[in-house]
């Protein structure tokens, strides 16, 4: 067991974790933050995307023990009350159906918009589709997800 202290959704958290505990397990089982989902075993689907120190990471391939001092944001902590513009946009544009991939999609969406804005690049539809490479949705055909991210980008 390793003692790890980090911040999750703005709150300090300190826990003993086994060396092999993944961030996804840590969030779901230890902290009961079940909005972070596990859809595959191979880091392909992106249902588990969270932000670590402001950057999107796949929680299923991140060891909890490696996050000493880190600042983790999950879907539950994305907005401080109310909804984040990305969350609003997913609802507005029907960017979700079963909802299972949605937290990861939203976290990836926020990350890509933030990066493109910081770099001063234009987030075109083509770029959004390319940036969503690491997130699989089986329901929507991505059409409305792309629209949602595009719309949120104009409001973030």
């Amino acid at each position: 067991m390793t003692k790890v202290s980090l911040t999750v959704n703005g709150k300090p958290v300190a826990r003993d974790v086994a060396g092999g505990t993944l961030l996804s397990e840590f969030l779901r089982e230890d902290l009961r933050l079940t909005g972070t989902h596990i859809g595959c075993d191979t880091s392909q689907c992106g249902a588990c995307v969270v932000h670590v120190n402001g950057k999107a990471v796949k929680a299923c391939t991140t060891l909890a023990a490696s996050l000493e001092g880190a600042d983790v944001t999950t879907i539950e902590g994305l907005a401080n009350g109310g909804l984040h513009p990305m969350q609003e946009a997913f609802k507005e544009h029907h960017g979700l159906q079963c909802g299972f991939c949605t937290p990861g999609m939203i976290m990836s969406g926020v990350d890509m918009v933030t990066r493109y804005k910081a770099e001063g690049r234009e987030l075109t539809q083509e770029a959004i589709r390319h940036e969503l490479e690491g997130n699989i949705c089986r329901c929507t055909g991505y059409h409305n997800i792309v629209k949602a991210v595009e719309d949120a980008a104009s409001k973030m």
């Binding site: 909005g35 596990i38 159906q97 089986r138 059409h143």
Partner: protein
């Protein structure tokens, strides 16, 4: 009204999903939670010689290790196939026994032989590794055509030669005669590739036995919790219905894979009783690939004859369907009544015959996957039509239009009676939206860039709104396929709708509320939809076969009719008017043409206070209904796909995808379009990317997202989705259903477009760059030789 029928109401269920507050089965954690891990066969066919649990049982944190002998010893029944298909010689289908945990023999890689129950999931998985199973390997057959060959390994003793049934529909003699008189016959061998449904949420079960009450609760990833309870009780003897509550909470996609009641759910319930612990199991993705039923997997040969005018004179199809190692719940119906009955397509074909042989192989069981049989039929018919048009030198649209059915009802030779449709309207709308007239110029422009541009059509029809109970009962179904609903108007006038349909992405919490809001002219906020819990909802047959609108909503309408009748009586009594003069309008119940009115909430209150009701009227305002459809519904449409192929690499880009659908009445266009988008994406996946691959030894070698390729955002274009609807005469709302159309209609459109681009009709799905490149090279070589 902005929330009624036809309004693009934003989804009410979204808030919990976008904030991470959805509650899926794996999110459930009970007191006393233990975890299950299954010991699965790594070989495709073997006798189980022994199971040594000792090492696992000695491990810390292991509660128990249970096997199939204990399971069958406790009287847990074999898994059933709920649809009896009869062979053409009159003999019943040859169904082999399937125990939730194998006792004597394993028949596919992934077949479960034991289950470990431990304190944590990790411990359970570790201990499963320590269970030592000795297998005596047997010869394997993984492919349907090989399974039928003489001397093929015998998988079930109940099915000699691995043949489950040899079934036919239509008139062979007439089809032969029709082909004989044809001036042109198009012949094709067509394979429908095997797929894995892959809802993003892996299947999961949390089973809890309450010893004091002798009662079970099962949270599970199900599209139809009541059917699960029925089957678990009546056939698997896990618990009687009144002692078993099944809850399907938020479910992360189904696509058919979550219809069935699998070995894992049965085992978890039983194990919970055995260990007196709440037992939780969640598949990892690799496990999902070998436990979720697969879809499709047909090999067909087909002949279609045409007269000099291009009219179809005869159509004959011979299909081998791979059902895997065991017969899953609805497996037998998929390649028969859900497939061959749609082989008439949108066309007036008088002479039609299909023969289907279903076979066992040493692979994962195959059952319904989005579309279920209808995509296989549509793919076959629409590839034949496009290829025939090319062979006849006709425009694909022209050949199709020449054969369109235009009068309804239309009875096909394969037992379906189409009730409505306007196929010309869908074709015209799609052609206009796709700018087909501008295609030659686009093709020329693409050629300048060194790209091959192609255009492909698909005019699909499907039978949905599954299904009239007596009709399917006559065809062998073990259940009725009606739906139930309950409408509760509370004393303050708010309304709860309890429905047997289950929503796992379809947005029922929104659309179902819309029809109620419209009917009673009430704010949608005052209406809630309850589903997915056998303790709350009276009964239900669940969600599949695009049935929730046409059947599930019809049940709600029927219950609302009863509520309205009572509302009228109460209002007429209190307002001293005739029932016939009562209207529901503007949130009030009024006497037409007067200013006499009661607020909707006043009616609710009156019903429950019962101070002033008509004589002999029962208090309360709650009605239930069961709706049994009178016919299937027949959504139809035209899809047009335009592609560009890079001849050097075989890489294909879909540059435009246009859909014109006839879904009948549309409640919420936003949601319907979303269903079409998702369906097309899965169809494009089948056409270009997805394939379950087994090797000769029956090893599944596409068991992860690194090996089984599903469409990602960059693989797809924006879709151009349109509607040209005719009202369905068969149900009160005029709905046809929209859930499967995209997956049914799109694969042939994609392949027809690619084959058009490369000039070779001989191209199998999935059209990977390698397959496309090879087909293009073959066509080029042939052209050069000529």
């Amino acid at each position: 009204m902005t929330t009624g029928i036809g309004a693009r109401v934003k989804r009410r269920e979204d808030k919990r999903f976008i904030t991470g507050k959805g509650k899926y089965t794996d999110d459930v954690r009970t007191e006393n939670q233990a975890y299950a891990a299954f010991v699965r066969s790594p070989v495709a066919h073997a006798n189980v010689k022994s199971i040594d649990k000792s090492a696992a049982l000695e491990m810390d944190g292991v509660i128990d290790v249970l096997d199939g002998h204990q399971l069958t010893g406790d009287g847990i029944g074999n898994i059933i196939c709920g649809w009896a298909v009869t062979s053409k010689d009159g003999s019943p289908m040859n169904m082999g026994a399937w125990s939730a945990l194998a006792t004597q023999k394993v028949r596919y890689v992934g077949d479960a032989v034991a289950v470990v129950i431990a304190e944590t999931q990790q411990l359970a998985r570790l201990a499963a590794e320590a269970v030592d199973v000795e297998y005596e390997e047997l010869p394997v057959v993984a492919f349907a055509d090989k399974a039928l060959k003489d001397g093929a390994p015998q998988i079930h003793e109940e099915a000699p030669g691995n043949l489950i049934y040899d079934w036919e529909i239509g008139d062979a003699a007439k089809a032969d005669a029709g082909l004989a008189e044809a001036v042109h016959v198009t012949e094709m061998e067509i394979t429908n590739n095997r797929l894995s449904p892959n809802p993003m949420e892996p299947r999961s079960a949390v089973a809890t036995y309450d010893e004091a009450e002798d009662h079970y609760t099962l949270y599970t990833t199900s599209q139809n919790p009541h059917v699960a309870r029925l089957v678990l009780s009546a056939f698997y003897n896990v618990a009687p219905e009144h002692k078993l509550r099944v809850i399907a909470p938020d479910v992360g996609g189904g696509f058919g894979a979550k219809i069935y009641i699998y070995p894992e759910e049965i085992t978890c319930l039983w194990a919970s009783m055995k260990t007196n612990r709440s037992v939780k199991w969640t598949a990892d993705r690799s496990e999902a690939f070998v436990t979720d039923a697969h879809g499709r997997d047909h090999i067909s040969t087909a002949k279609m004859g045409f007269d000099a005018d291009g009219r179809i004179t005869g159509f004959k199809v011979d299909t081998i369907a791979n059902l895997g190692a065991y017969m899953s719940l609805f497996s037998s119906s998929v390649p028969t009544y859900l497939y061959a009955t749609l082989l008439s397509g949108q066309y007036d074909i008088q002479n039609l015959h299909a023969n289907v042989r279903a076979v066992y192989t040493n692979t994962v069981p195959v059952d319904a996957y989005r579309g279920a049989g209808r995509p296989e039929a549509c793919y076959l018919v629409e590839r034949m039509m496009e290829t025939a048009a090319r062979e006849l030198g006709m425009k694909p649209a022209e050949l199709r239009a020449k054969n369109f059915i235009r009068e309804f009802p239309h009875e096909t030779p394969v037992i379906m009676t189409y009730d409505s449709g306007d196929f010309d309207a869908n074709l015209a709308q799609a052609e206009e939206a796709a700018d087909v007239n501008g295609f030659p110029a686009r093709r020329e422009e693409a050629a300048k860039r060194g790209k091959l541009r192609g255009l492909g059509y698909s005019c699909y029809i499907e039978a949905c709104g599954i299904a009239p109970s007596a009709a399917v009962g006559g065809l062998g179904a073990g259940v009725g396929l009606w739906e139930s609903a309950e409408v509760r108007v509370n004393p303050v006038g708010t309304i709860e709708i309890l429905t047997g349909s289950h929503s796992h992405g379809q947005g029922h919490e929104t659309t179902f509320a819309q029809i109620v809001a419209e009917r009673f002219d009430q704010p949608i906020e005052n209406i809630s939809i309850v589903h997915g819990d056998t303790d709350k909802v009276q009964f239900g047959m669940g969600t599949y076969g695009s049935r929730s609108g046409a059947v599930g909503m019809s049940a709600i309408v029927k219950a609302m009719d009863k509520v309205e009748a009572k509302v009228r009586k109460i209002a007429a009594h209190q307002l001293e008017a005739s029932e016939d003069d009562i209207v529901i309008e503007g949130g009030e119940v009024k006497v037409a043409g007067t200013d006499k009115a009661l607020g909707w909430h006043e009616i609710g209150l009156a019903a429950y206070t019962a101070h002033n009701l008509p004589p002999d009227m029962e208090p309360g305002l709650k009605e239930s209904a069961f709706y049994d459809p009178s016919n299937f519904t027949f959504p139809a449409g035209t899809y047009i796909c335009e592609v560009e192929v890079d001849p050097d690499t075989g890489t294909t880009e879909i540059v435009q995808f246009t859909a014109s659908d006839d879904f009948g009445t549309i409640i919420n266009p936003m949601i319907v379009e979303g269903q079409v988008h998702g369906g097309i994406a899965q169809g494009v996946g089948q056409a270009m990317l997805e394939q379950v691959i087994y090797d000769e030894d029956g090893q599944l070698i596409t068991g992860s997202y690194m090996d089984y390729t599903m469409p990602r955002a960059a693989d797809l274009p924006n879709f151009s989705v349109h509607h040209a609807s005719t009202v369905c005469p068969g149900n009160p709302l005029g709905m046809k259903g929209c859930g499967e159309a995209g997956a049914i209609g799109s694969p042939p459109a994609v392949i027809n477009a690619i084959t058009d681009a490369i000039g070779n009709n001989d191209l199998a799905m999935p059209a990977t760059p390698q397959n496309v490149w090879r087909a293009y090279q073959a066509a080029s070589a042939k052209q050069a030789a000529e």
